[in-house]
């Protein structure tokens, strides 16, 4: 339960675009590759943004 609370809090702190990607994947059922297309950036930059966001979420779980 604590992890979920921490995760919820962290979700409120990540970038809007990353949040949109996660919603597209976890809620709307798109694949991650499709969901990543919402970013109008090169794949390298997309990766960087998402990695930052995933690292933040992963850290809050520990």
């Amino acid at each position: 339960m604590h992890r979920q609370v921490a995760l919820r809090q962290a979700l409120g702190e990540i970038s809007t675009s990353c949040r949109r990607l996660l919603a597209a994947y976890y809620v709307e059922g798109q694949s991650l590759r499709e969901a990543a297309e919402i970013f109008t950036l090169t794949y390298t930059n997309v990766s960087k943004t998402i990695n930052r966001c995933l690292r933040r979420l992963r850290q809050c779980m520990n």
Partner: protein, 476 residues
């Protein structure tokens, strides 16, 4: 496995690997790397765990955010929180001295508060007491303010008496002599009459929410909001009104507005570190969500506050939350979970200390059995609730629980018990003058014969319930 240093797989690649989102070549390369790399293998485990949690949390979070776009109408008094009122009269005494006076008055107000609450608990005593209470004395103002606040905490004991208390206070304020309203006097500087008025309107509105008079509650909450704003715009008081108004809106079919107001209040309480009020606001959000049919989220909101209510012994709130969780779980078809929730609650609330709380929980449990058509267990539980309501002086609730018990026995097929309980019920309503005797007779007729008319019993039970609530004012 040994530790490769470069290049490690990034989080996004590992998430895509977990999700099966990589193409064949990418997947094979990733698998080979993970097998050889302790670091990536560990990160993959963490990504897996994160993925599992996100699957649970994300849908709820997205549903939660879809309510964030709600706006109140332009002419809605609660559209935005009022600005703080700027005008305070010039003080005749220095601020430091004022703080000393306020502290001393607050500390000495306990006896006044107790006297008012004792009077409010009996019929006809509070009005004359308040008429004699001088509001030129800061001690009396604090005493009344604390009594009005405590009245809200004790509301479950008798919403009708609570309403009479709040109304008596409002009458008292209408007859305040000009000397009490003089903004330069010490008492008015310490606790403005507007604050007291706001608190009395808030309490009256709360009581109306409990008795189901929502139109009257609306007026009281609007007036409370206005009074608190004019008295200086204390954020906590304004948030308290929003929280109660949230419940009123939820009860009257405006659940989305209810969610908005509950969340606004919760944000203020969180900021101020008021844990009990945060829990109450979460419960108000739960009420709104359950009215919107979003029971899963509602259960979560109610559970958010439950531990706080228990730890702080806020039993009225605790009971209301438990009963709401039970109702939501039944609607979700999770009957066993609902039973466990009630059983846990019954263990927590000791009968000796709070028979009314136990009565409400028993009643809630009985309703769960009734909805699940487990009528024998429902009947037993309604009978226990009835006895406890009588012990607590909640006669209207006792009569209503008794009506349910009669119907439960009838639906169970035990007509002898149903008729026996009906006889006891008739004696009870006759004493209270709570019901036209012909209704009991009609219930009796419906219970007669080889094929009792159970639908007619249910119809009459609903009719009788409405009349008893109206005449005696049952607590919800």
């Amino acid at each position: 496995m040994h530790e490769l240093t470069r290049p490690h797989l990034d989080d996004f690649t590992l998430l895509r690997y977990t999700a099966g989102d990589l193409d064949d070549i990418e997947r094979r390369l990733a698998a080979r790397h993970i097998e050889a790399c302790a670091v990536c293998s560990q990160v993959l485990r963490e990504i897996d765990e994160l993925d599992q949690e996100l699957k649970l949390v994300m849908p709820r979070e997205e549903r939660r955010s879809d309510l964030e776009e709600v706006e109140l109408a332009h002419d809605d008094p609660f559209r935005t929180r009022p600005e703080q009122a700027p005008l305070r009269p010039p003080l005749r005494i220095p601020a430091g001295e004022l703080a000393r006076v306020a502290l001393a008055a607050s500390e000495r107000s306990g006896a006044v508060s107790e006297r008012i609450l004792d009077a409010a608990a009996e019929s006809g005593r509070v009005k004359p007491l308040l008429a004699e209470l001088s509001l030129s004395d800061p001690v009396n103002r604090y005493g009344l303010l604390y009594a009005l606040q405590e009245g809200g905490r004790r509301i479950a004991e008798s919403p009708v008496r609570t309403l009479l208390f709040a109304e008596a206070a409002l009458v008292r304020f209408r007859h305040s002599p000009p000397s009490e309203e003089d903004e330069r006097v010490e008492a008015e500087t310490v606790v403005p009459l507007l604050t007291l008025r706001g608190q009395a309107h808030l309490l009256a509105g709360q009581a109306c929410n409990w008795t189901g008079d929502f139109e009257k509650a609306r007026t009281h909450f609007e007036l409370a909001y206005r009074c608190f704003a004019r008295a200086g715009g204390d954020e906590v008081s304004l948030a308290s009104v929003e929280y109660h108004e949230s419940q009123r809106r939820s009860f009257t079919g405006s659940g989305r507005e209810g969610v908005l107001l509950a969340r606004r209040a919760e944000a203020t309480f969180k900021q101020m570190g008021l844990e009990d009020n945060v829990a109450r606001a979460q419960a108000a959000e739960g009420v709104a969500l359950s009215m919107l049919g979003r029971d899963e989220e509602a259960v979560e909101a109610f559970r958010g506050g439950l531990a706080v209510f228990e730890r702080m012994e806020l039993w009225s709130n605790y009971v209301a939350a438990v009963n709401s969780i039970g109702t939501c779980l039944v609607r979700l078809g999770r009957l066993d979970e609902a039973r466990r929730e009630f059983a846990r609650a019954l263990r927590r609330v000791s009968r000796e200390r709070r028979s009314s709380s136990v009565a409400f929980i028993r009643d809630g449990l009985a309703q769960v059995f009734f909805s699940a058509r487990r009528f024998r267990e429902a009947a037993v539980s309604f009978a226990q609730a009835t006895r406890l309501y009588v012990q607590s002086g909640l006669l209207a609730n006792a009569l209503i629980a008794s009506l349910f018990e009669i119907e439960s026995w009838a639906r169970q097929g035990d007509m002898a018990r149903a008729r026996h309980r009906l006889e006891i019920f008739r004696t009870g309503v006759a004493k209270q003058g709570a019901l036209d005797p012909s209704i009991s007779t009609r219930i009796q007729d419906a219970l007669l014969g080889l094929n009792p008319d159970l639908e007619r019993v249910a119809e009459l039970r609903q009719l009788a319930e409405g009349i008893v609530r109206e005449r005696l004012g049952a607590s919800a």
